[in-house]
């Protein structure tokens, strides 16, 4: 019988939405392996927040309360969780694949002598062994991996499971005592807005987004021309911003802005998961890329395979003709 834990990340507004998806993944794994799933909530004064998980089908909601867990630090989280994992010996511990867990979970795996599967998007069970699927090469390829030993720590990627698929039940909520000193290993000085958060892409109805495939700052003209022809706002994936071809406030993705336009044109964007997270609310997605195997085609409604510097001028001409039409 597999004992599966799901570590539930909280934030000021409540439970992190990705943690709810991860709980569903935990329920699915428990069902598949014939075991039970439990939730683990860490923090200071989080008992109330944990109550909302009591309506889930979970064998328990474990709450680890400690004043040193009031704010997240890797040292305190790893200290508390490695003590809890050491005493309760779960077989699998699932985490939402957030910026927080990517930071501390691999090191936690080291400290509990476990295996680490980062960024799982699916799993299947074959002859009792769990095979995890995860992206590699920025999502260009998929990999199936198997972890050995116990515990296995897994971070579950956003969108892999849906919180609405949850199984309901009646879970007891109880404090889990950890007998270890919990020490923060960093001093948190504050939070700052990323400079230049001026362009609001979130309300845009049409977005033309540029990727690394544009090829250079001096080649960005076609992107602006297409945006003008469509009456669209210009956005970009991270490499374009890092290269300085557009200001940082144009960035769409997990560390940038989230958009949900009627029409999203991705030009020269391969479609790394960090970018897809920011544009998945788009209604109609058009991808232009010379690489037929680029992951962006997997989320597009329409795609043109070709050199964007040939395709976009032709596209502008076709749009003008249609307008004149």
């Amino acid at each position: 019988m597999a004992n599966i834990w799901v570590v539930v990340q909280t934030r000021a507004e409540g439970i992190h939405p990705m943690a709810l998806e991860t709980l569903v993944a935990g329920q699915a794994l428990a069902a598949e392996l014939g075991g039970s799933a439990s939730a683990v909530v860490l923090g200071d004064g989080v008992m109330d927040r944990s109550g909302e998980l009591s309506s889930w089908e979970l064998s328990a909601v474990h709450v680890i309360e400690h004043e040193a867990l009031a704010a997240y630090t890797p040292g305190a989280y790893i200290g508390a969780l490695s003590a809890a994992i050491g005493s309760e010996a779960p077989d699998y511990v699932l985490f939402p694949h957030t910026y927080q867990s990517v930071e501390y979970v691999p090191r936690l795996a080291y400290s509990v002598n476990g295996a680490m599967v980062p960024e799982a998007t699916a799993f299947r069970v074959e002859e009792g062994a769990v095979i995890w699927r995860r992206p590699a090469y920025g999502g260009k390829l998929q990999a199936d991996v198997r972890a050995s030993g116990s515990p296995v720590l897994v971070s579950v990627q956003s969108g892999a499971y849906s919180a609405s698929d949850r199984r309901e039940g009646n879970a007891p909520v109880a404090a889990l005592a950890v007998s270890t000193e919990i020490i923060a290993d960093r001093e948190i000085l504050g939070v700052e807005e990323v400079a230049g958060e001026h362009v609001d892409l979130s309300a845009a109805e049409r977005v033309v987004s540029a990727g690394r495939g544009v090829g250079g700052e001096d080649k960005m003209g076609v992107i602006h021309d297409l945006a003008a022809a469509l009456g669209a706002v210009v956005g970009a994936s991270r490499p374009v911003i890092d290269s300085g071809w557009l200001p940082r406030d144009c960035q769409i993705g997990s560390s940038g802005q989230t958009v949900s336009p009627e029409l999203y044109v991705a030009a020269g964007i391969s479609g790394a998961i960090q970018h897809l997270v920011g544009m998945k609310g788009s209604q109609v997605v058009v991808a232009i890329n010379k690489d037929r195997s680029a992951p962006i085609f997997g989320v597009a409604n329409y795609g043109i395979v070709g050199d964007l510097h040939e395709v976009i001028p032709a596209l502008i001409e076709a749009i003008e003709e249609a307008k004149a039409g």
């Binding site: 910026y99 095979i131 940038g256 029409l263």
Partner: protein
């Protein structure tokens, strides 16, 4: 300050990948290899800190003979010397096994700071730096967008990227491991003088036994993750794809956007 930088040599992200015939990895023949993007930013950050505080940058990389190109490039950019973790026993390792070897090599010297990229562009585990920190027993931070070594050099003010356009600012005691996010700085180009000087700089090779590690602790044997298959996703399954003549593709797309999707 004495700074270690861990770099990985990876296929160029623009390269067209082919899956190897055994289905367990990509075909490396004719594949262009470069320094992993975020590792390049980590190297630049290390060079800037060393210039400001006075000190040395020692660059570490694990892999076959080929990774010496990446180390040579790092030396041309300004690193003082390089350590090549060079042993067939290191091959096929996951983040756990790779971090164990890197940490053993780094632990042999007294560093004030270890910088790495936040994630590799190939396997993409995003784990190696923080596991190195575990081995060393040092604090660490991931996805770092700013590093400022504070007076006395016993701490650093670190800006860390969070989701949704916000950064967290924190202070880490040194020594520490800092995993750098792409875009933190503007990496320099190697000068001709730098390239010439690099030829005289040392690249020290280290085997598993040099690091006091057994062959079972490193590479595939020391790993907890086994790759069973890699494959291309079923891309564009739902998308309607136009290929061939750009003008014809454009015309057909615009027609679809007008009549079917009704967004024009």
């Amino acid at each position: 300050m004495k700074i270690a930088v861990c770099i990985k040599q990876v296929p160029d992200t623009e390269a067209r990948l082919r899956v190897r015939s055994d289905g367990l990895g990509v075909d490396e023949e004719d594949l262009p290899f470069v320094i992993n993007e975020s590792d390049g930013y980590a190297l630049e950050e290390a060079l800037m800190i060393a210039e400001k505080t006075g000190g040395d940058v020692v660059v570490f990389s694990l892999g076959s003979e080929r990774v010496r190109e990446a180390l040579r490039k790092a030396l041309a950019l300004g690193a003082t010397r390089a350590v090549h973790l060079d042993d067939v026993a290191f091959a096929g390792g996951d983040a756990m096994a790779t971090a164990r070897a890197l940490a053993a090599a780094i632990d042999g010297e007294e560093f004030d700071l270890v910088l790495t990229g936040s994630q590799s562009d190939d396997a993409g585990y995003g784990s190696t730096g923080s596991i190195v920190a575990g081995h060393l027993g040092w604090p660490h931070a991931w996805l770092v967008m700013g590093v400022e070594v504070e007076d006395g050099e016993s701490s650093a003010r670190v800006t860390r990227e969070m989701e949704s356009g916000v950064n967290e600012v924190l202070r880490l005691a040194l020594p520490a491991v800092i995993e750098v996010q792409a875009g933190i700085n503007q990496p320099r180009y190697a000068s001709l003088k730098g390239i010439m000087q690099a030829k005289r700089k040392e690249i020290a090779g280290k085997s598993a036994s040099d690091l006091g590690l057994s062959e079972n602790e490193v590479g595939a044997a020391g790993s907890r993750l086994e790759t069973l298959a890699v494959f291309f996703p079923e891309s564009g399954e739902t998308a309607e794809i136009f290929e061939g003549d750009p003008a014809e593709s454009a015309r057909r797309l615009v027609e679809k956007l007008q009549k079917e999707a009704r967004v024009l």
